[in-house]
């Protein structure tokens, strides 16, 4: 997923999924990039949560004015309490609350309030049953049979049946819907014929009984279950979608624990408990209220006045950079800040098709010139330096990669060898107003100036920036990021660095990097059924990429959640980050 999000809800459109074929892409919409067959990696994931207790105990001892509150909290038992409205704020509206149309990291947690899929993530990246009670996979790995849980109802009262899933997926695949996550589901048998208008239904989707759903794939795909968790896989009732059409986003009906009660565009969203939800014990909150407007700094001020329960839910990075150290040091917020390594990399993309970055030595010189430790310092340790492409929380993360150390002398030497002894001038594109990216942009400009390279900063609003980056021969160098769609190395390497997936427009390979050796390794890994060997292939590809330097990996960020003492079970999730429906409020807590 594209990671140019500061506060604007972004369409990433990057969520695309294709078959194993390496033929040139014929992509349905300009924002699609192809993907290989990723194999689901479920391995070791670092999960760091800042435990509440020690901080709170400390606060109880040290702080007079806050002691009662802290002690209270420490004494409060951890059984969820019912009641209370969660108050949040967003800088801008979510793009859509229609699962077929929404896809940005900001709307996802809100979709999960109202909709459910066949499977969902547990507290980590393991998939557990949701609307599907259990499932079986055929011996050839092509056919999935799901047994649905009975008794699950949509908020309009109707029971969820297997035919609803068939409709949902066909609706997403339908060209007329113009869904954002359609390409993910093209691996379903018959999906291509359906999209081409040659078939009225998708051959691979069957609902023999109300509680049995069969999905057949064209080719085995070990990551198919992961794909079912993307918004397009969330079930919607046909009658409501057909009734409201395009305005389904304003009248969403799902089977999730909450329903949308009010949405005043650019002002306020309010969600309330769904009385028909099958697990009332999971609906602790009476509702969720979202104020729309303002910026993260304003929201932090509101939070500090007690007007919000979570400081920032846009997750990049969860606390405004300028305020981070102050918040971290304030005794009042000790133990109330959680963090998790985000499966995100921020990098400098050097367009290998444009001068002077088509020269390997120039790219390596840029990599040598940049001081990553300074970036970590500038961002107050909210990030760690990146030496490779895969973030630490993604399977296949390679601790042995050393990348390019900060060495201006070496950079100057490489530039001279490349024939740019006097340096050169280029534009550095990045998102304007991004508090996380602006200091690094200035720092990189300074570092490059030290070796004689003149970087002209070119901050742009998100939409035109994404548009330019995805077009060939347009952006010579951009400071940008990539966030995982699902926990697998293919999501990073295959999606962003496979030369076979370069397109004229809507290309996610911003560096337009095309190394046959890497392409071959990635294609081989995509079909590899042996997990350890597969990760090895990805790591070999990553090693070549790091050496070729189409990307200068900069930093791996953390995601932070700063919350009030009366809000519990905020636990950041490694993929979805915020799961509001699992949080609960302590009703005894005095709230302003």
């Amino acid at each position: 997923m594209n990671l140019l999000l500061r506060n604007a809800p972004v369409v990433f459109g990057v969520l695309s999924k294709r078959g194993v074929d390496n033929e040139p892409l014929s992509l349905p919409s300009p924002r699609k990039a192809g993907r290989g067959w990723p194999q689901a990696g479920r391995g070791g994931r670092v999960k760091i949560l800042w435990k509440h207790c020690c901080g709170l105990l400390l606060a109880a001892v040290v702080l007079g004015s806050f002691s009662s509150r802290a002690a209270d909290s420490a004494a409060a038992d951890s059984t969820p309490k019912r009641g209370g409205t969660l108050r949040l704020a967003l800088p801008t509206d979510v793009t859509s609350l229609d699962p077929a149309l929404a896809f940005d990291t900001i709307s996802q947690p809100f979709l999960l309030l109202m909709f459910q899929g066949l499977v969902e993530y547990d507290d980590g990246t393991k998939l557990v049953p949701c609307l599907a009670q259990d499932w079986t996979v055929s011996a050839d790995q092509r056919s999935y049979t799901f047994h649905l849980r009975t008794g699950a109802r949509f908020s309009n009262g109707r029971e969820v049946v297997a035919a609803d899933f068939v409709y949902t997926l066909e609706h997403v695949l339908d060209l007329k819907t113009a869904a954002t996550s359609e390409a993910w589901f093209e691996g379903i048998d018959g999906a291509k014929e359906f999209r081409a208008g040659k078939a009225a239904h998708v051959r691979g989707l069957k609902a023999p009984r109300d509680d049995t759903l069969i999905i057949e794939l064209e080719r085995p795909d070990p990551s198919f279950l992961y794909i079912l968790t993307v918004p397009g896989g969330l079930v919607v009732p046909r009658e409501e979608v057909e009734r409201y059409g395009k305005s389904f986003t304003m009248h969403p009906v799902g089977s999730g624990p909450y329903v949308l009660k009010e949405w005043r565009r650019s002002a306020k969203m309010r969600f309330e408990r769904n009385p028909l939800y099958s697990h009332p014990e999971r609906q602790c909150l009476d509702g969720v209220e979202v104020l729309v407007g303002g910026d993260p700094t304003t929201h932090l001020m509101m939070f500090e006045r007690g007007e919000l329960d979570i400081a920032d839910v846009t997750e990049h990075p969860g606390i405004p950079v300028p305020d981070f150290v102050r918040i971290q040091q304030e005794p009042r917020w000790q133990g109330l800040m959680e963090r998790i390594p985000a499966a995100v990399i921020w990098y400098l993309s050097l367009n290998t098709e444009m001068k002077p970055f088509d020269n390997l030595k120039v790219r390596q010189a840029v990599a040598y010139a940049i001081d990553k430790q300074k970036l970590v310092q500038l961002l107050h340790g909210m990030v760690t330096p990146a030496n490779g492409v895969l973030p630490p929380s993604v399977p296949g993360f390679n601790t042995n990669l050393t990348g390019f150390p900060h060495d201006p002398a070496k950079a100057r030497q490489l530039l001279a060898e490349a024939g740019y002894a006097d340096g050169f001038t280029f534009r550095l594109w990045y998102e304007a107003g991004n508090l996380l990216l602006t200091p690094p942009a200035y720092s990189i400009q300074f570092d490059l100036a030290q070796v004689g390279i003149n970087a002209q900063l070119n901050p742009l609003a998100m939409a035109p920036l994404v548009d330019s980056q995805e077009r060939r021969h347009t952006v010579e160098c951009c400071l940008t990021g990539w966030s995982q769609d699902y926990p697998d190395p293919s999501d990073f390497l295959d999606g962003c660095l496979n030369g076979n997936r370069i397109t004229e427009e809507g290309c996610q390979n911003y560096a337009f990097y095309n190394n046959p050796q890497v392409n071959q390794l990635l294609d081989e890994a995509a079909t590899c059924q042996d997990p350890p060997r597969r990760l090895g292939l990805y790591q070999s590809a990553e090693k070549i990429v790091v050496h070729d330097a189409p990307w200068v990996p900069l930093i791996f960020p953390y995601v932070y959640a700063l919350h009030q003492p009366w809000l519990h079970d905020v636990r950041l999730h490694p993929v979805v980050y915020f799961r509001f429906e699992r949080m609960w409020l302590d009703p005894r807590r005095e709230r302003k």
Binding site: V321, Q377, R427, F446, Q456, P459
Partner: protein, 315 residues
């Protein structure tokens, strides 16, 4: 009748009488001298380079240093010396502000002279055009113009594509020159009315009639007879409008469409420091004060000059 000679001596006399004007002149002079001397000060290691991102400029947590010790006015969030940036910022602000004022004055005086002198339909046309320009707020117009500029430069062909008249190509590039031109292009209408009103009065005066009866051409009358008599007014208006052009430059810098980074401009310093305002107010206060002082100084100076020219205003 205002005298053209001895203007400077009269100016000094005014300063000695009008303390506020003297303070204004002193501030302008200080900033101007610092701005001019800045590169030399850096070369002699009396002042840091404005873009220098010092490792020591940030504390262990990566936070700016407050105003103390080695950094007189503290550092910003990238470890750059705020004092150096504010002084180098004066270079940008003053040069852009004064160049913009000169541009605006030239346009404004030309339009005012022609409109007032010829009168009739030309006057009607020019004045309606001026008023039309006045209805659009200068800052909005400047933003619209600045939006046309691109960092790497955008080339606009002002000739038909099939003709190779490349001398008509226009490169719209972000930089100090384009910014002062933009500010100049949006700040002239205010001058036109004053100049026109004076020309209307002057052209009926005996000495103009005399020049005309001697057979002087229109151009000669305009440039040699009327213009010199307008000079004091133009100077006052110019000084006063420099305050506005500096404000406008700071405004554009604040909005991120001024002179591009890493060039230090006061407006950009404020916008960059704003997110840190709660913990590190010096990042905003220092460039803010610089803007306030300069604008105030130019206004005081302008008022002093006005008193010098117009004896009725003297107390």
């Amino acid at each position: 009748m205002p005298a053209n000679f001895g203007l400077f001596r009269a100016f000094l006399r005014t300063l000695s009488r009008n303390r506020l004007a003297a303070i204004g002149a002193l501030i302008v002079l200080t900033f101007a001298l610092l701005a001019l001397a800045a590169p030399a000060l850096t070369r002699w290691h009396l002042l840091r380079a404005p873009d220098q991102q010092d490792k020591q400029g940030l504390n262990e947590e990566g936070l700016p240093r407050p105003a103390a010790g080695a950094y007189w006015l503290g550092t910003d969030n990238l470890g750059r010396d705020v004092l150096a940036r504010v002084i180098y910022g004066a270079r940008v602000s003053l040069s852009v502000g004064i160049a913009a004022m000169l541009t605006a004055t030239m346009i404004g005086v030309a339009v005012g002279l022609v409109a007032g002198f010829y009168g009739g339909k030309l006057d009607l046309l020019l004045m309606r055009f001026t008023e039309m320009n006045m209805t659009i707020p200068a800052i909005l117009l400047a933003i619209a113009f600045a939006g046309l500029l691109e960092v790497g430069g955008r080339t606009v062909h002002l000739h038909p594509a099939r003709l190779p008249w490349h001398f008509l190509d226009l490169t719209l590039k972000r930089g100090a020159v384009s910014i002062f031109l933009i500010i100049g292009l949006v700040s002239w209408p205010g001058l036109v009315r004053v100049v026109r009103a004076q020309v209307l009065a002057l052209k009926e005066r005996e000495f103009v009639q005399a020049a005309r009866s001697l057979g002087a051409s229109d151009a000669r009358i305009l440039l040699r007879t009327i213009l010199p008599n307008l000079l004091p007014t133009i100077i006052i208006l110019g000084v006063m409008s420099t305050a506005n052009t500096i404000l406008l430059e700071a405004g554009l810098g604040y909005l991120g469409i001024g002179v591009p980074p890493p060039a230090p401009t006061w407006g950009a310093m404020i916008s960059e420091g704003q997110p840190y305002f709660i913990s590190f107010p010096h990042l905003v206060v220092v460039p803010g004060l610089a803007i306030v002082l300069t604008v105030l100084a130019f206004n005081l100076l302008g008022q002093g000059l006005q008193e010098m020219v117009d004896p009725r205003q003297r107390k």
